[in-house]
Amino acid sequence: MSPDVSVKTLVIDGRDVGATGEQTILEVAREHGIRIPTLCHLEGLMPAGACRMCLVEVVGSNKLLPACVTKVSEGMEVRTHTPELLELRRMTLELLFAERNHICSVCVSNGHCQLQSLAGEHGIDHIRFPYQYPRLQVDTTHPRYGMDPNRCVLCGRCVRVCAEVEGAHTWDLMGRGAGTLVTAELRTPWGLAQTCTSCGKCVQVCPTGALFDKGRAVAEMEKRREFVPAILAGRDEEEELVP
């Protein structure tokens, strides 16, 4: 079937906007400078709809919909910042902070982390849930990079960039539920993974300090997402970290 190029008009946060039927709510919102927070999404990668940060309200739908995967339709009326949505996003972030160890002050990505900036954006100053802090093994076997699963938010961006862009498919998700882990092939230490090309794309797309360049001290790990060409072509707005 050919892509739906027909022009649709819709309303986002009270503004009339135009789009084609193939575009997602997120794409259209970004085109018009309307910010919808995202975490698992990265332009150029297959959408996952997993983190639920981008949920928006669509009038007439009793369910909240993820803006990153939901296609626009004619006459759609979208609200991106209702009090309910803000509270839900706040809680999602709190759940992530409580799930693993995200003590920013000792992290290589301190100051350059998407999770941290989202927390800032949402005014999170305390976490209402007890910290789970599973003690997960850090993998430093790769000569250039490291992997600290304690900082991982399981967004799956590394898995997707490695499989879809680099074509190596070194990473995948293991286990399920709260026990899910990102692992290199067959749980081998990363440094021994036969398919890894050491391209570093996973490190660059990781929103947190879970994947990092070795030899960086606290707060030194700035990600260069332009490093990953397919994603550069897609112009990812996530770069603009909110101070």
Binding site: R52, L96, E99, L154, A168, H169
Partner: protein
């Protein structure tokens, strides 16, 4: 068996045979892993590598799939693998004590393999034998009606290493406890008649008839079947041109549900005929029956029924000499409740991890390999032949205004007659519990009826005179669900009940989305805190807020409905929560209240 013991050459030959048996299709990965594990005892890294190579799949992907399903083992397991069914009904019957007893007798720790590699003992999510519990699986084989004596015998059988085939057959007896039959369970006429009539009338006329019948899906959500059929028939083919699929969802994973097992075991032809009729209506030529691995007997009978049906000309090539082809394949799950969710089920049939994906697009538009795919439940399909044979008017005359026909419920828990009951929609809970179910055993009184499993809620005894239909149950904060009905008497603590279901959802969460993956853990934490009498009123408030958040934000039905048992018990039994929180006491005496100063673990 250890990895060293399987020499590389033999391993390769063995796996090649398995992979070739599935025509080297990557989509068969889950089935291939199953067979490889059956042959090897577990899935060593060398086997995963060989399978990946043979299928030309990345090793990471093969391992990711193997690591998703709870019945796949990446490390050696005991030669006897004992898994206790963990449903609240098994617990009511003392399964936890029996598990401990077996572990003690065998000198092993739960969840660990004995040093000699002989045995391991653990729990698994409800195995659908709730009417004959406590139940367990030994190497995948169901054993029912466990007692202390039987457990002692089993420990001996294991210690003497008696082959499973020689175990006393009465242990493995699976009964068919049908307490009341109606048009579905009582149907008796040769398979094929309804199909012949349907083909003669043509697809459009049949869709019209289905619409008139107003049949709603029996798998959980109660979606109108005809609308689904229509969209699967009319959807554009995004996958291969002209290809559509029909899938029967027999993953039945709700704790307390065993209707589909019984229907598949006792009347597989009816289900196959329903699928064939649906296939004719939507224009599909291939169908899949996705059955949970816990139902080996159902699988055996289904496979036999498929062969018979093909011989009789009511399935397969040129059905009833009308030129219509419809082939059905059976696919087995591997221990993941979430695979009953339709998009996860599709991922699993395609050989992947059972992670759901956002809907829309719905499977009727984009399902298996992107083609329009009709997914219905076992009981939904089983209803079709009867509707077409007796007419939509007849069907619509049974039940209530919006809920037509009959529904099969699985009665378990604190009730005299456990088993299946088929009743017309709109019957009251009182009639089900007292007239058919024989009431509550002992001198106990009814406290609540739990419907809809982990997605449903608890209906308090004061509402048992209300009719059982989709709308009423929704209004009461529960759902019809697939038909599990757990009867709860006054010896149960509702905080404990809510905690059981949350533990289930937490264990079965696929982990893809944050609200369900992390939220169920925190809800479970809060419920544990409450059960121990250590929670504050603030915690109670947090519990409610978080429950609403998980419900609103989760990706799929599992997370969206996981908080329901909590919310419904908060609604009707808040006093029990308050007793734990304010008075530090469990009114039913079930929860272990922590002593002053004791540390919460």
């Amino acid at each position: 068996m250890t990895e060293e013991m399987i020499d590389a050459g033999r391993l390769d030959d063995l796996l090649r045979a398995i992979v070739n048996g599935h025509r080297c299709q990557p989509g068969q990965l889950v089935q291939i892993l199953r067979e490889a594990q059956d042959a090897l005892g577990y899935l060593p890294a060398s086997a995963l590598t060989a399978i990946a190579r043979a299928l030309a799949l990345p090793r990471a992907q093969v391992e990711g799939v193997a690591g998703f399903y709870s019945f796949f083992h990446l490390a050696p397991v005991g030669r006897y693998r004992v898994l206790f069914s963990d449903n609240i009904t098994d617990r009511m019957l003392g399964s936890a004590e029996l598990l401990e007893r077996l572990c003690n007798k065998l000198w092993i720790e739960r969840g660990k393999v004995s040093e000699d590699g002989l045995v391991s003992v653990d729990t698994t999510s409800c195995t659908g034998m709730c009417d004959q519990g406590p139940a367990l699986l030994v190497n995948g084989r169901a054993m029912t009606r466990m007692s202390a004596e039987r457990i002692d015998r089993i420990s001996e059988l294991i210690r003497t290493q008696l082959p499973l085939a020689d175990w006393p057959p009465e242990f493995a007896l699976v009964e068919d406890n049908i307490r009341r039959r109606d048009t579905l369970l009582g149907a008796e006429w040769p398979a094929g008649e309804a199909l012949r009539a349907a083909i003669a009338r043509g697809a459009e006329a049949m869709l019209g008839e289905m619409k008139l019948s107003n049949l709603r899906g029996r798998g959980g959500a109660g979606f109108t079947t005809a609308i689904k059929w229509e969209s699967a028939r009319r959807a554009a083919c995004h996958g291969e041109q002209g290809i559509r699929y029909v899938v029967c969802n027999a993953d039945e994973g709700d704790p307390g549900a065993f209707m589909d097992r019984s229907v598949l075991e006792s009347d597989p032809h009816r289900v196959l005929e329903g699928m064939a009729i649906a296939a004719y209506a939507v224009g599909a030529h291939t169908g899949y029956l996705y059955v949970r691995a816990e139902y080996p007997l159902a699988v055996k009978r289904l496979k036999l029924a498929i062969k018979q049906a093909e011989r009789l000309g009511v399935l397969g090539h040129n059905i009833l000499e009308t030129g219509f082809d419809f082939h059905v394949e059976v696919r087995l799950g591997a221990g993941a409740f979430v695979c009953g969710e339709e998009t996860a089920l599709i991922a699993s049939i395609q050989g992947g991890r059972g992670n759901p994906r956002p809907r829309p697009p719905f499977p009727a538009e984009r399902g298996l390999w992107n083609s329009p795919t009709l997914i219905n439940n076992v009981e939904t399909f089983a209803n079709i032949p009867t509707i077409l044979r007796k007419g939509a008017d007849w069907f619509a005359s049974i039940g209530t205004e919006k809920s037509k026909g009959t529904k099969v419920f699985a009665l378990a828990g604190a009730i005299r007659n456990t088993g299946l009951v088929e009743v017309p929609m709109g019957i009251t809970l009182r009639e089900i519990v007292y007239d058919i179910g024989g009431g509550i055993p002992g001198d106990r009184t009814l406290k609540a009826v739990q419907t809809g499993g982990p997605s449903g809620g608890c209906i308090p005894a004061e509402h048992i005179d209300l009719p059982v239909d989709y709308e009423t149950l929704n209004k009461l904060g529960s759902i019809m669900g697939s038909g599990g009905m757990i009867i709860i008497d006054d010896s149960a603590c509702m905080v404990d009940v809510a905690r059981f279901f949350m533990e289930f959802c937490m264990t079965e969460s696929c982990g893809k989305c944050v609200p369900c993956r992390a939220g169920t853990v925190q809800i479970h934490n809060l419920l544990t805190k409450i059960a121990r009498g250590e929670a504050s009123l603030e915690d109670l408030d947090r519990l409610e807020k978080l429950s609403n958040m998980v419900k609103r934000s989760s990706l799929c039905g599992l997370g969206q409905s996981a908080p329901n048992p909590v919310l419904s018990t908060l609604r009707y039994f808040r006093d029990e929560y308050l007793a734990h929180v304010v008075e530090h006491r469990c009114p039913a005496g079930v929860c272990k209240i922590a002593a002053e100063g004791e540390v919460i673990r």
